[in-house]
Structure formats: C-alpha cells, structure tokens
Amino acid sequence: MDRRDFIKLTAVTGTSATLASCGNSEHQLIRFVPDEDLVPGVAEWKPGVCPLCAAGCGLSVRVMEADVETVRNGQAGVVKMGVAKKLEGQAGHPISQGGLCARGQAAIQVTYHPDRLAHPLKRSGARGAGELKEVTWDEAIAELVGHLDALAAAQDQKSLAFLTRPRRGRRLALAAEFLNRFGAPAPVPFELFGEEVLRRANAISFGHEQLPTFDLARSRFVIAFGADFLGTWNSPVAQNAAYGAMRQGRPGQRGAFVQVESRMSLTGANADQWVPVKPGTDGVLALGLAHVMLSNKLRPADAAGRAGAAIDGWSGGLADYTPARVEQVTGVSAKRVDRLARELVELGPAVAMIGGAPLAHTNGLFHALAVNALNGLLGAVGQPGGVFFTPGFQPSVPGPQVPSPQALQNLSAKVLLVDDVNPVFGAPKAWKVREALAKIPFIASFSSFLDETSSLADLILPDHSFLESWVDSTPESGALEAVTTVAGPVMKPLYQTRATADVLIEVAGKLKSPIALPWKTAEEVAKSQPPAPSPQSPPAARSPERLALRKYSEPVFDGDAAQYPFHFLPYMSQQFGDGSTAHLPWLQEMPDPLTSAMWSSWVEINPQTAERLEIAQGDLVDITSPHGVVRAPAMIFPGVAPDVIAMPVGQGHETFTRYASNRGVNPIGILAPATDAETGALAWAATRVKIARAGGGNGSLIMFAGEMREHPHEHETR
C-alpha cells in the first residue's frame, strides 16, 4: 500500500463513520472518495464537444480537483471531484483546430451558472407565474408517463409533439425514434436563423441538401454575400482558421476578399472591398458578375452545369443582368460590377459564399441559386479553394427542417415536449407561439434554465450540462472530410439532473405499452451510428420543381415604404447568437467587437440619417413596424446604409436568469411573419420600420470605449 492509497482509506473510514446515519453507505463513499485519480493542482485534459452552435467544435477540457458543494441522495455536503476549469479548442480537431470562439470560451458558464435548475420541477401556480415546486425524478417521470399513457389510452398518440433545435446529433435521432414508435409526428424543429433556404438551393444546384464548406485556405479571391462567416455564420472557428491561412499562410500570396451586404458585419470589416447593396438584391449582383464573365467569354457558360441551368436566361448569357441593370437594382455601379467580375476570374481560384440576410427575404432562394451558379461558373465546386460538401453527412431527422409559422401555430398537441429551444423568445410575436402553447394542456421541458418557453412548462426535467453527459456531433459543414466527435462526461453532475436521452429511454420503458428503443443508455445513443445512407437517388433528381427556371423577382417588404421608410435588419449577435447565450456573464460583459457595447441593446443608425432625424448617440429611439414597437438607445454606426436600421438579436429576455432578464429589447418581436416564397422559411430581413427619437439617453447604452470616432464633433462639422 502506498501513501496515496493509505490516505484514501483513512478518508473512507473517517467519512463512513461520520455519515453512518445517512443511508446507503455505498453512495456515501462516492461522495467523499473521488474515483478519479486526480492529484490536487495537476490538470487533466479531457475531450468534449461545444454545444452552443451547430458547428460542433471539438473541445479539450482542463479538469482539476475542487471542492463542490452539492446534494447527493438528499444529503448536502462537500464533494472533492474533478471539475472543468477551462475550455480550449482541441488541437488537431478538424473543425476547431485548437481554436475556439468567444461563445465557446464562455460555454463553461452554462455548467456553473448560478441559476441553473438543479432538480425536477413541477408547476404549482398559474402557468407562467413562476411557482414551481421541487419533485423527485420518480414523481416527474411518473407524471410524464401518465400523460403519455393517457394519450395512448385515448388512441390519440398523434397529439404528442416534440419541439427541438434542428439537426442536433444522435439525441435528436433518439427523440425521432421515440416519437415514431409511439405513433406521434416527427420532431418539430425551430431555429430563428435557420438555413433551410441555402440547403434547398444547394440541393437544386448541386444535389446536396446540406450547408457548404469552403476551402478558404487555398482560395485567392473570396466574395461573400451577407455571410458573416468570421462571426456567427456556419462554422466560424474553422472559417477563421482558414481565413487566417488565406491571408497570410502562403508566402507572397495573399488572398483577396470582398464582402457584399447592407450593414457592415464583423466579417465585412475584414474585407478589402466592402460593397453595400440594396436589401434583397444580392443575387442580381451575383448574376451581373456572371453576365460580365459570359459576355466577355472569361469563363465557359457550361462550367456552371446544373447550377447554371436553374437560372432563367443562363444559356442566353443572362441578358437581363447587364451591369447597367445591376446598378439600377442593387445600387452597385456598373463599372464596379465589371471590374469585380474580371478580378474574380483573373485572381482565381475564387469562391462565392452566401448566407444570413440575403436569404431572409421573400426571394431568398433566388439569391442562393444565383450565387451557386456563380460558383459553378467560377469552377469553384469541389475544386481547391472552392466550395465542398462534407461527405457522408446525414441529418438526424430526414425531411424539411423549416421552422414554419404553421408548424408552431398549429401545435394542436395535448402533450408537448420541449428540448433546448426557446420559440417564445425566438419567433416573431406575429406567429403567436405563446398563444399556441397556452392551449396545450401539458408541456414538459428538458431545459436547464427558466426561459420564456420553459417557464410555461408544467414539468421541467432538467438535462445535464454538456460537460456532465455524453455528447456527440456530426456537423454538416466545416471540414472537407466527415467528422464525428463523441465524448464522455468530463465531470460528475453537480446537481440532481439527468441526461435527456436517459429520461426518454426510461419513459419509453415505463409506458403501459413500453416502447422498445434500440439504445439502453445515453452513452449508447451518443456512440451509435446513423443508418447508412439509402442507395436511392440524391434528393436533386427527385422533384420536378427543380427543373423550374428561377429569375429575379423583387423582394416584398412588409410595411408601406412611405409610412415605414427603413429596412429593418436584425442580425445574429457575436456574443449571444440567437439569444440562447445571453445568460452568460462573460458574454454580457464582452464588448461587442464593432461597437464596444456591453450589457446593452442598441439600434444602429447611419450618421447622416441620425443627423437628419436629430438623433444623437445614446438617445432613446422608437423602432416601429406594422407588428409592434421596441425602444432602444441609438448607436450612430458608420457601416450601415442610410435606409437600413440594424439591431443585434439576443437581448430583451423577459425570463432568462439574473444576467439576461429584462435587459434590453428583443427585435424579433416586431418582425413581420413574412416567408421565403418557395421554402416557407422566415424572411427575417423583410420588415420595414419607422424610427423616431423618444428622448435623451437613460444610461442603458453601456460601452467599454468612448465614442465610435476619436473626434466625433470634428466629423459632424466636416
């Protein structure tokens, strides 16, 4: 026996003695003798997966010993256990490549958040009143099983609904299997900034219903339409790594980068040429570039293949998209269109990207198809420096993943399960999600926090944090090769929480007519493989509508242009994404990279517009759409078009822990329920607004630095 074992043994004896009255001594042993062989002060590194977006970055988690106050088996005490101390990107992981974004760095606060739910809760007061009482897991599971059994008894299995984030790994496959075997409809996905338009376009153009991966590291010229690929879009960490290599990774060969958008994003700030366009016209510019290439025979027309064939007038050289016409529609000068097109060809290999706002218009699909055709023409598809589709990717749940208003409004369910999604916050008020939920007799949530949606639940069955459970990720984009990451828990649970996968499996087994699931534990679920892709034809060949030729139709904006003179652009926040990380204090206090604002909401106004409307920095401004009004302090922002009003999404939570509740305003609330004509996806950039100064600043705009410019007054008088 060495010294270490001796000390362990004395600890066991001592603690067993003091806790003899506390019940099952076997469990008590776990409380005081860590089975992990951690040496105090020495770190161990364990693999993990970041859960905060769909990119699926591989983590390396620093685990060290700490004293944890917790409750085990009804007994409060201090446990010595290994706990996560720091998250790093996993070196050599194909997505994170050792790096991590700001949100990923802060993900550890999800686990250690002081307002995390520690045990199952049952509603005891009126719905949404926040009166919840603690129940045991046995009671909670019995309650849920009772409601499901009642549905089965009434032959009403169809009235079970499952609301979730789309494409979230094997756990979603488990939920789908559960619902399928129970006889309920497939999970209903919801994501505000969904990517259905782009997936559909890629299916039409390239036969891949999937988000693209860009080989930026080998590109020499990148043109991005609206895609905030260095900030929030697609797989930002992988894209940042590739971007760095594109700029300075090849001696003597620096890749050039052009960004097209109507409000300067973090990505746009890095561009060599920043090209503002009128909202909803990006695809016209893309085809204008193609027109110049075709009419000057810079590239062969057939290079675009089927991506080109989907565009009306392609074979005729895109006569409708002359630089002069492009200038009229987009506001980009004909000369610039001509020059850009030539640069794209001459400085290649070039690649075009599209994402974000251009796809969130009523004509969103057209823009994506136009950029796809441009990529085809540039010869960028599947070529070094071009656009790729990660092989072998399969969605967890097949079929469309459109967060449609119909799907949410028509939730005529009697029992609703909500997993990791907050549509009451994240859907336009006009969708009336709150009202739809109010009509559902029983709602259970797996949320770790009380947010706008989980606070309406009748039963909360809190999930483990991602550091306490088996996690898996097979991202659909971000790496040129297929990546599957599976990782076990890096630490023991802090609370009386349970992995949602385990809860679903237990519920399935306890039903009156039990459901046989192919997995027994959350671990098995995470480690399981999706079924091999069926050998049938790719989705591209299936539907005849794909043969339809697309042409530009003017975007339709909600709100009369005379009454509502500004385009309203809500955008995904660098800190909070769609708002789901607004509860993390590090992110609240992280200065926004473009404005240095912290703990705030703000509305970005062009300096000329502000001057005309006599709005000063920090003044309160009412932003009114036909669907509502929000009031936020003004941020005079040099990078936004004079007819565009931009606002970050993420703040304005009514209920979301001590750090985010009642902080700022939620711009999603005033969005019109407009959709892309073909896919039905929310057109979140298609709302018009008017703005009016509502009064002087009330101190709610908090900035780390001073004014946007060093000498703002000098600028005004210029």
Partner: protein, 230 residues
C-alpha cells in the same frame, strides 16, 4: 541567456472576433463587474479589441486591433510605483505583485495604453461560478491594480515541466490563453531572444510596428499591419 517574452499580432489575420477577450477572462479569473459598474467605466478587460473607423458610408473601413499590456522594456508604469508592485522581471515581463500594491493607481495614470485595471471592489462569483476559477492564478481583492501578465502562470508551468524533463523550451511551447484560443492564428507568442522563433521572425517583418512607438516605451508587442488588396 534568459528568455525575453514577446508577442506579435498579425492584423491581417485578426478578424476582431473577440475570442481572445473571453479566453483571457476564463484563464485569469478576471471578474465581471455588472452593468452598473461597467457604465461607470469599471469593466476589466486585460485584453480588448479596438476599432478604427475611417471614411463615410459607402466607402467606410473598419480595422480591429487587439490591445493588451505591451510589456514595455521602458515601462512608464514601473518607476512611478512607490512600492515596486509594478516591476520588470528577468524575462522582460512587466509584472505586478498584488501583495505589494497599495492602490495608488499611479501606474494606470502613467500607462499610455490604458491596459491597467483597478479593483474597485472584491470580485464576486455567485456559486457555483467560483468553480470556473483557475487555481493557478490568484484572485485579486479590492484596492489593487491588475493587468495582462502574458499568462505568466502558463510560462512558469511550461518552464517547470521542461526543467523536470531536463529539456530546453521549444518555440511554441508557451501559449497564453489569447494565443491558444485564436483560431485565425493572429497572435503569436514566444522568445524574442531566440532569433529563430516565430515571434522574432514576425517582429522583424516590414509590416511590423509598435503601438505609440514614439513615446519611447519599447513595447514587446509588434503589430503587423493589415494589408490591402493589390
């Protein structure tokens, strides 16, 4: 020859994403102060991303620059400290001894880069947020000045390991939290006394310059200018 730690920041790689800012908080036990104190200018970010706007819409340009302690060789913060809390180490670090600091704030006054932060109150981590604290970094109490240390705890850890394993440090062995987290590889750290190290190589780049070079502080952080399309 002792090490001389320095950093190079390639502004052509930096995208301004802010990962370094949060990584620094996570590594160095930097407290968040909350909205009310942040509004009074008391937020603490040892590392910040600065913005430089030029021009007017539509010809507008924005450049980012991450700014941390420049670990000056002629640091204005050092001679003004009455207690030698702010001092220069053998390895060229501009170090702060919290136990010596009596909070005169002369150093913050003298620093031309505004990278020193005063603890106006004891930090608070509502439980169990305290579990995120890095045991290798002391938590600063009210009344002392704190700043970027180039993650001295990581430097020491690597040095101790290397000594135990009886080997020399390799270039790239030491990575401060901001450098490790940077996915665009804009930040490079290493030994300026090793002419072959990546940081030395980058510091000699014709694109390189020091922040406020003309005030004579001899910073050990070199910024490599962002380039334009040619």
């Amino acid at each position: 020859m002792p090490h001389k730690w320095g950093m190079a920041v390639d502004l052509d790689r930096c995208t301004g994403c802010g990962a370094c800012v949060t990584a620094c908080h996570a590594e160095n036990n930097i407290p968040t102060v909350g909205p009310a104190q942040a509004a009074r200018g008391r937020a603490m970010h040892w590392l910040r991303v600065e913005r430089y706007w030029e021009g007017d819409f539509p010809d507008v340009r924005l450049t980012f620059r991450p700014v941390m302690c420049q670990h000056c060789d002629a640091a204005p913060c050092e001679p003004v400290c009455p207690t030698y809390a702010s001092h220069h180490t053998d390895e060229g670090l501009n170090a702060q001894v919290y136990n010596r600091c009596i909070g005169t704030r002369y150093c913050a006054n003298a620093c031309p880069y505004s990278v020193r932060f005063f603890d106006f109150f004891n930090p608070q981590w509502p439980k169990p947020l305290h579990l995120q604290l890095n045991p290798d970094v002391s938590v600063r109490e009210v009344g002392v000045m704190e700043k970027c240390t180039f993650c001295v705890q990581r430097i020491r850890a690597v040095e101790i390991d290397a000594k135990a394993e009886k080997r020399e440090l390799k270039d790239g062995d030491v990575k401060p939290a901001c450098v490790q987290g940077c996915s665009a590889r804009a930040l490079v750290f290493g030994d300026l006394n090793d002419p072959e190290s990546e940081v030395s190589r980058l510091s000699r780049s014709p694109r390189g310059s020091k922040l406020l070079e003309d005030v004579g502080t001899l910073p050990k952080v070199t910024y490599l200018e962002r380039q334009t399309q040619v």
